[in-house]
């Protein structure tokens, strides 16, 4: 069984900017995969190489075993891309937009599937509305629908929830999860790390055109050994604990600790200072911590 996505030693330069410097990546069929990294890390360039929108200077990329250059027709048929930019064609209605997109992929008489996609994305009532008249959130849904009209086995979503309200985000993830359960491979880039943590089984972190971490989400979280202690005290935080403070707010102090053994020590220190603990919470590291950790170390 070929990998859903296989990228080997891909380099890409735009003028002075080295956007990708030797990316190697393999995403298995059926995975829910996250592609994370700060702005300019090369996520969108990598997606562009996979989609044939950009051509790699070196290396190869395959989608479902089809080379994106030599066998571009099969590669593109296997891929659905939801672009990051909110783009649309102002000449057409929602239904026309979806019919055309289906036709470009050579899929005719696709009405039933188009109806189903529109229903799942809550677009049915807007089918005859011109694209220009839709709200930003609705346009985003149409972009998702456009990526799905030809039923691609691999779906890439480039920051699909940027600037989208909570309701749509929830609905969107429910639908994407269902597609993943039905066997579609999902590749997601997002700025919302909690989204990646909740959805992705495996994650690649990119920095300056390189993969700096590639592991299961659980393993990435395990790499971060520290934990956080959130405290609300009756008095001042004892001076000895001040160096451990990490992002405290007006109501609470947050201490960054190396491990569970430090918790005991911190509590003893507070007792000694005569402070009373009014509220206490122990927080496990999340993907954001792992992300910051990896970015700082790489």
């Amino acid at each position: 069984m070929p990998a859903a996505i296989e990228v080997r030693d891909v380099h890409k330069r735009f003028g002075e900017l080295q956007a990708l410097s030797g990316i190697d990546l393999e995403i298995r069929q059926g995975e829910f995969f996250g592609l994370l990294g700060p702005n300019g890390a090369g996520k969108t360039t990598l997606i562009s190489v996979l989609a044939g929108l950009a051509r790699a200077d070196r290396g190869s990329a395959r989608v479902m075993g089809h080379d994106v250059r030599a066998d571009y027709r099969a590669a593109r048929r296997s891929l659905g891309v939801v672009p990051q930019e909110l783009v649309f064609d102002p000449f057409f209605t929602v239904r026309e937009t979806l019919r055309f997109q289906s036709g470009y992929f050579g899929v005719r008489d696709n009405g039933a599937w188009i109806e189903e996609v529109m229903r799942h994305l809550d677009l049915a009532s807007k089918a005859e509305v011109n694209m220009r008249a839709l709200s930003g959130g609705m346009k985003r849904r149409v972009l998702v629908a456009q990526a799905l009209v030809h039923k691609p086995p691999v779906i890439v979503l480039d920051e699909p929830t940027a600037g989208v309200d909570v309701e749509l985000r929830q609905a969107l993830w429910q639908f994407i999860r269902r597609l993943n359960r039905d066997g579609h491979t999902i590749v997601l880039t997002t700025h919302y790390l909690e989204e990646a943590e909740a959805l992705c089984e495996r994650i690649a972190m990119l920095k300056q055109g390189r993969v700096v971490a590639l592991d299961s989400t659980a393993n990435l979280l395990k790499r971060v050994h520290h934990l956080f202690l959130r405290l609300r005290l009756s008095g001042e935080l004892p001076g000895e604990l001040r160096p451990l403070e990490h992002g405290s707010t007006a109501e609470a102090h947050i201490l960054r600790l190396k491990g569970f053994e430090d918790v005991e020590q911190a509590l003893a220190c507070i007792r000694k200072a005569g402070c009373r603990i009014e509220e206490m919470e122990l927080m496990q590291p999340d993907l954001e911590d792992a992300f910051v950790d990896v970015m700082q170390r790489s």
């Binding site: 562009s48 571009y72 992929f105």
Partner: protein
């Protein structure tokens, strides 16, 4: 199945949906040209001895509309798609570069010929025109509009802003059209400018097109068709090379 028929249909529907602007406006412009020029010039000039000026002018105006609208269709569609970013919708599907080319050029030719036919239809009640060699009329209308559709693609792919397309149109397409004999027979020009006109490929488009109406022309229509076909071959080859390389479309 290929995505070509859908892309062609989409490109045709695109201009059809805004036909007041894409068909109505150029027809009005051509009709104004006809009334003003024929009013001012009538009786002063006789061309090929027997053809009155207004009758001579009509095929020229029709061809001018064909050329300008074929160019406008492919160039504006591409540059708008590039600027708004929705070009991605036709770059992601498995369309071959020659399917892409064929769809845009044929849609441009369709717009050129629809506008041309409309101009002709509107002027018929006012000017008596013959249709001596209708096949030549169709052959030149199609080949000329395909040339301009292809030139429009070159401009649309090359341009990064709307004003660059306008510059291409105003400094290249317009002068070549106006100097090709839309309003006059090149026999009325001094010998030097007659010679220069023979280097303008647009001259052969209009001259051959006129032959279809009157059965007379400045140049043998077979020679004109050969020149126009060769020119179509050259601009198509340039456009196809640009598309194949991904120039300014795939980075």
């Amino acid at each position: 199945m290929s995505g070509f028929p859908t892309l062609l249909y989409k490109e045709v529907l695109r201009f059809w949906k805004v036909s007041t602007q894409t068909i109505g406006a150029p027809v009005l412009t051509a009709v104004l040209f006809l009334f003003i020029f024929s009013h001012v010039m009538e009786g002063r000039i006789r061309i090929y001895d027997a053809v009155p000026y207004a009758a001579f002018l009509v095929p020229g105006l029709v061809m001018m509309s064909v050329l300008q609208n074929a160019f406008a269709n492919s160039s504006s569609s591409l540059v708008q798609s590039k600027m708004t970013g929705n070009i991605i919708f036709v770059l992601l599907p498995p369309l071959a570069y020659w399917e892409f080319f064929a769809a845009y050029v044929l849609a441009a030719a369709a717009r050129g010929m629809v506008v041309g036919a409309a101009v002709l239809l509107v002027t018929l009640p006012f000017v008596e025109i013959e249709f001596r060699r209708p096949l030549w009329i169709i052959a030149f209308a199609f080949s000329a509009s395909a040339v301009l559709g292809s030139l429009g693609m070159i401009a649309g792919i090359w341009a990064e802003k709307i004003d660059q397309v306008a510059a291409f149109q105003n400094f290249f397409i317009m002068p070549l059209t106006f100097l090709s004999g839309v309003f006059y027979s090149i026999h009325s020009l001094p010998a030097f400018w007659q010679g220069i006109s023979h280097f303008n490929p647009f001259f052969y488009m209009i001259d051959g097109f006129r032959y279809g109406f009157f059965g007379v022309s400045d140049v043998n229509p077979f020679r004109s068709l050969a020149v126009v076909t060769a020119f179509l071959g050259v601009v198509s080859a340039i456009t196809l090379t640009m598309l194949k390389s991904g120039y300014r479309l795939r980075h």
